[in-house]
Amino acid sequence: MASLKENHPEHVLEISSACKSFGQLGVLKGVNLIIKKGERIALMGPSGSGKSTLLNCISGVENLDSGDIFLNNSSIRELNRSGVEALRRESIGYIFQSFHLLPTLTAFENIELPAQLIDMPKDERIEKVRKILKLVGLSSRSQHKPDELSGGERQRVAIARALIHNPHLVLADEPTGSLDSKSGDDVLSLLEELSIEQGVALLMVTHDRTSTRICNRVISIQDGCLV
Amino acid sequence: MRFLFFNYFFIFQILSAEWIQPPDRSPKGYLVPSPDYTPNFPRDHGSHPKYGIEWWYWVGHLKSVNEKRNFGFQSTVFRIAGSPEGKIYNSIRSFGNQNLFLVHSALSDLGNKKYIHHERVYREGWQAKASLDNLDLSVGGIEAKLLTEKNQQQVITRYQNGDRLELTFSPLKPLIVFGDRGLSRKGESPPAVSWYWSYTRLQATGKLFQNGKEVSVKGIAWMDHEISSSQLGDGLEGWDWTCMQLKDGTEVKAYRLRTKDGGSDPWSAVYWIDTNGKTVEVYADQFKWESEDQWKSPKTGLIYPNTVRITAFHPDYGKRVYRIRPLLDSQEFTGTRSDNAYWEGACEVLNNEGVPIGKAYLELAGYGGGLGARLN
């Protein structure tokens, strides 16, 4: 069933009446949200308010019970599994609180992986990885594996990985949650810088008010509703 | 596969007033013992395979030389021929197929109240041999042969656990040929005759090897050798038989044939053998065989009337009473087939007043019911 929706080219993400519950527990209760190109939004809320669930629904890892999510004006609900997988591969970058780098790959390889997944030509890919490594200041550590990097470095690799394939939207789940304040600051600055440079929209879940400094807009979620 | 030829064990001899001429051959085709035959010894101590049935039988009472221990013994070898038309497929001497042999061996240790016995059946061959020319038997655990001296016989009987009885018998009386014209009659049927030769009093000396020890023994024994080719008559349930060796130097042989209705067959008889070996006999109407007591076997459950009172009228001396008492109750011979069990054992003989007058061997057969069926 095609959703009747007006096409707004400037909208990267559009969430309308998103509901999601786990059993009896309603986690998202009619969330509506629009993120435009280049917009950086901080999503705040207490534990269990539905922040992470919302991110998971946006990335298609979890399905909505009702409502819809449009990424670049196409509905996630209408996509089959491989469509969702392709959407994630091509349009979304993800940054986790605990980095989630693949332990067996080097920093370079970790960053290169999403580009490989979208079949970016090898030369372009390598060039791009090098460039972004330089941008995140880790050119010298490209051959190191995650367990040889510090927390801040790991998160910088994660940011590079999230941006390498030119996504439209970066979802960041507490990107500074595992970092000390200095490294956290560095990572936030990097995130801001890169998202501006690449014109990518950012939806960042955070607890920390100071983190919101890099965002255009701060929204709060409480009991499954945006306030 | 069990063979019971036990039914041949006792062949009845009946003296009939009228002479019945036996045929040359039995219905099965075996030679029938001929009348007026003068046994030719030692040849006739040997085997007679052209005749259907034959046995050698020794019983007796023994004492250890120090007189402290008393024994009774029975050693019997039977020979049974197959069909005379039977084909001899194998001439291999180890496994013949024309004759079967059985051994019955029993020893009664009267002081210790122990009775040991066993039965074996063999085909003629490596385990069973009988000479045609002489007394020379080797059948399972029994070996018997004639010694060169004075008609002496040597009999070796083996028992369980390596025990062994080695006896030498010396005849104290000449051999007795029972029956009219040398034929002992077993019934009205013309071929029902046998040659029946006995040593009624043999001096026995020898050794008993028991539990690895050697005991010298001596005593008095009885020996039968009978040859015939005929089957038994109908209507018999069993028989009681005894041989008595009395202190006065005479012997008495008595038997009754029990009919199914509980009576005695008319050919039942009593023989007296005097000190010179002369015999007189009376028949069923001249004697009574009564049971005075009985014994129930704990092993087979059979009841044997093993205390017997025989009242007979001697043609010369008139009424005689012989009371036979077992010296040991448990002298029951159970063969390979329990319904063929019989009682045969050492007894003493008392006169009417209860005074011991001699020793006897008593045989009570056909109390298991199996025999009657097999006789027919």
Binding site: S59, F96, L105, L113 | G82, Y89, I92
Partner: protein
């Protein structure tokens, strides 16, 4: 006590709850233990059942015997009975002469139908046997007519079931082959065997009748002794007394031994064969134990945080140790109980196979009903329990050593087994294997030898290779990874290069199985090729003639000398190489004495000579002999010397003048000149003959002609003989291949389990990849490739150790145990096919375990 209770509490509160989450894995684990214990127990039971009887077929009728009177040649002449007559007089025992032979019945078209055991007993004296009275065994209402069938020409008795199988009625005739003739026997009656177990292939006849039917007049195989007082059998003093009394009068050339010793003797002669099977069956248990180690280690890793928390809460480390040991004990007990059932099933499946092998190679035997004794149950339980406990030991210790602080701070990072990462242990094991190689073989009771050093070396090498295989995997992955551009291959090889304990354990478990299987490949292949080459050299005659209808080394009647005489004087025969064999008794065990045309064998008949005739000098006063390599090695005669053999006519000394290769048996053969053989064995009966035809003869035409004239003989040309022999050869390796199969199955199950654990532990990676847009297909492909790569890693390491094992089996174990020199041959194609198979199975296992993982995540 408190710690014990706490351990039980933890077992129920934590362990079993974890089990519930991974029920499938634990089922598989219990199943693996069950298969391991089952394979071991099954072989035990099957070989017991297959060797319980060792040829005393008459006992179905005559009951258990206590002693056997035998000659060194396993044959007797009936005349010997006259010498035993004195012994037979004693009523304390029964002597039961026995003749037996294998014959083949013919169907209505005259073609071979069924193999039957024709056993001759003195049917009349059976009546004396105590057991017969007990069993109520009955020949029917035959007794009064004994003279009609006693010692008859051809009357026999069979069980009614056998009658049904042969499709005959009482009174019918059965045609059969025996001793090179076609004969007929008449079924007099069916035996009502309702109360006794009467084998279907047993035919009973009177002793002289059977001698006649087998054309073996005057021959016996043995004389059994049965005590009369069977209730005294348990009394050893009583039996010893009986034995002493019989021995006292026993003729010199005869031996008396307890019947159970015969089974033991024969069993000891097949000891090497059974030992091989037992060792093979142990592999399944070893691999199983290895898998348990792997699975429990995975459990420890998965629960590391939980363990760390428990330690932080003050739970004693000993309690944790006990809890994990308990866990393995529960798996062990459950698996072993199941394994007893599985063992029975295996035994049921394999008993006939083993019996066929034993029949083909060693002695005539039949299978008895598979019995499951309490001992089997206990043995199985103990074995499974012990192995799983041993396997649980290391993970339990690992759990115990969990440091709380470190774990809590570093998340789920697991050191795994540090010793797996050290190559030193593996290298030490491989070096010690080399040292074991110089160990001399260990002599066994029956005269065989056990290659103890060889077995120890193979154990060390397998273990060493298993330990080192992880390093090989890591190195190989490191070599390949730079060439991987794609995300999937890069991921796979980076993971393999990283070499987690789990990967190392998985590959090691598989290496054990691969090593064994490829080792066996080589042995079987080398064997086949050697035998084929031996055939080509050895069998140069035109036609080969043997008794028809008898296969294997079981009960051979041989050929009637009259038939042989007629055959060799046929005018197309230019030379006949007649061979005679009989058993002979060396100081230890049993061996084969053969009679051959020494002159022809030394000059014309081609052989694979290890030492050419004349190259060894015979010892003076000894009969010169040509001996087989097996014989030479068994009795240490490789460089000449002499040995004394007990024959029918007493002890004889033989001394080798040449040594030939022979793969026919493992008892060894010594060949002397025919007249000497006849004199020593008192027999005239040849076993086979090779015919050399006149020049220009049409071999197959003459073969067909001879087949028509001698229907009781098998007449084959060289290629037909070769087919038959190779058929027997295949038969002998059947049980071995079955066990190999079981070992492989267990290894594959383990691979599946290992891969599942690997994926389970990499959950985080997969989640991340999922967020990165890694498709399910890509995930399954990654998993499949990882599995396949592990399979290939195991193939490479396993094949390396397999080649070493093959060398060991062929050049050490075979030579020491059987005295056979084989030409080592590497079956390349088998190796490659096996590699492909491993790749495919690894791939499938990977995909399957990934699919399972996905299902579990849902």
């Amino acid at each position: 006590m408190l710690s014990f209770r706490l351990a039980i509490l933890l077992l129920f509160r934590t362990t079993f709850r974890h089990w519930r989450k991974n029920l499938g894995s634990y089922f598989l684990l219990v199943g693996i233990v069950a298969v391991g214990v089952g394979a071991f127990n099954g072989i035990r039971q099957a070989s017991r059942s297959a060797s319980a009887n060792f040829g005393l077929f008459n006992q179905a009728v005559s009951g258990q015997s206590d002693f056997l009177i035998e000659s060194s040649t396993q044959r007797l002449n009936s005349n010997i009975l006259q010498d035993l007559a004195q012994i037979s007089k004693e009523p304390d025992w029964h002597l039961l002469p026995v003749i037996e032979g294998s014959v083949t019945s013919l169907d209505s078209n005259g073609s071979p139908d069924q193999q039957l055991r024709l056993v001759g007993l003195d049917l009349l004296s059976l009546a004396n046997l105590p057991s017969l009275m007990e069993s109520k065994f009955d020949f029917g209402k035959e007794e009064p007519n004994w003279y009609e069938w006693l010692g008859s020409e051809n009357f026999v008795w069979i069980g009614s079931e056998a009658g049904r199988k042969l499709g005959i009625e009482e009174g019918d005739e059965i045609s059969f082959f025996a001793s090179g003739r076609v004969r007929e026997m008449v079924v007099r009656k069916f035996i009502d065997a309702s109360s006794v177990s009467f084998p279907d292939d047993l035919v009973i006849g009177d002793l002289p009748t059977v001698q006649n039917l087998l054309s073996r007049k005057g021959e016996l195989n043995r004389i059994e002794v049965i005590v009369d007082q069977i209730e005294m059998r348990e009394n050893l003093n009583f039996l010893q007394g009986i034995k002493d009394r019989i021995s006292k009068n026993l003729p010199k050339n005869l031996t008396l031994k307890a019947t159970q010793n015969r089974a033991a003797d024969r069993a000891s002669m097949t000891a090497a064969f059974r030992l091989n099977l037992t060792i093979l069956s142990l592999i399944a248990i070893l691999v199983g134990a290895y898998l348990i180690l792997q699975a429990l280690d995975a459990a420890v890793v998965r629960r590391r945080a939980e363990v760390a928390t428990l330690i932080s809460l003050g739970v004693n480390r000993g309690v944790l140790f006990i809890t994990f040991l308990f866990e393995s004990a529960v798996i062990g007990v459950l698996g072993s109980i199941l394994g007893i059932g599985v063992g029975w099933f295996f035994a049921f499946l394999s008993a006939q196979m083993l019996a066929d092998t034993v029949n083909a190679l060693y002695f005539a035997t039949t299978i008895e009903a598979i019995s499951l004794t309490l001992q089997d149950c206990l043995f199985g339980l103990c074995l499974g329990f012990l192995f799983t406990l041993l396997a649980g030991w290391l993970p339990a210790r690992d759990a115990m050593q969990t440091p709380p602080a470190q774990i809590l701070s570093r998340g789920d990072w697991s050191p795994g087994f540090s010793w797996l990462r050290k190559s030193r242990v593996g290298i030490v094991l491989i070096l010690s294997g080399l040292i074991f190689l110089v160990f001399p073989p260990f002599p066994l009771a029956g005269g065989g030898k056990m290659a103890i050093g060889g077995f120890l070396a193979s154990g060390c090498w397998i273990l060493g290779a298993a330990l080192l295989s992880g390093h090989v995997l890591v190195r190989l992955a490191g070599l390949i990874k730079p060439y991987c551009a794609g995300p999937i291959t890069r991921l796979v090889f980076s993971r393999l290069q990283d070499g987690s304990s789990r990967h190392r354990l998985s590959v090691a478990g598989l290496v054990v199985a691969v090593g064994m299987v490829t080792g066996m490949f080589q042995m079987v292949d080398s064997f086949r090729i050697t035998i084929e080459e031996w055939f080509d050299v050895r069998f140069q005659a035109d036609l080969y003639v043997s008794e028809r209808g008898v296969t294997g080394a079981g009960t051979i009647n041989g050929i009637d000398p009259l038939v042989m005489d007629k055959l060799v004087h046929e005018n197309m025969v230019s030379y006949a190489d007649i061979v005679y064999i009989s058993y002979a008794k060396p100081p230890e065990g049993i061996t084969i004495l053969s009679g051959v045309d020494m002159k022809a064998w030394s000059t014309q008949i081609r052989q694979l000579w290890l030492k050419k005739p004349g190259s060894l000098k015979p010892v003076e006063g000894c009969e010169p002999a040509l001996i087989s390599e097996t014989f030479a090695r068994r009795f240490d005669l490789i460089d000449g010397g002499f040995i004394e053999l007990d024959t029918m006519t007493g002890k004889k000394k033989i001394s080798p003048i040449g040594i030939f290769s022979d793969y026919g048996n493992e008892f060894g053969t010594a060949a002397v000149d025919i007249p000497i053989w006849k004199e020593w064995t008192q027999s005239e009966r040849p076993i086979n003959v090779s015919l050399y035809l006149g020049k220009g003869s049409n071999v197959n035409e003459i073969r067909d002609q001879l087949r028509l004239s001698y229907p009781g003989l098998d007449v084959r040309n060289a290629s037909e003989l070769r087919d038959v022999a190779l058929g027997i050869f295949e038969q002998t390796f059947k049980a071995t291949s079955a066990l190999n199969g079981i070992g492989l199955m267990v290894a594959f199950a383990g691979l599946l389990l290992g891969l599942f654990a690997i994926f389970d532990e990499s959950s985080r990676t997969w989640f991340t990849l999922d967020y990165l847009g890694f498709s399910r297909k890509q995930f399954l492909l990654t998993a499949g490739l990882e599995g396949a790569a592990i399979g290939m890693g195991a193939w490479i390491s396993g094949s390396l150790v397999g080649v070493a094992l093959g060398w060991l089996l062929i050049n050490v174990i075979n030579v020491q145990s059987f005295g056979w020199t084989l030409q080592w041959h590497l079956p390349w194609t088998d190796f490659v096919i096996f590699g492909l198979l491993l790749f495919a199975i690894g791939f499938l296992s990977g995909v399957l375990s990934a699919a399972l993982w996905i299902r579990k995540q849902k």
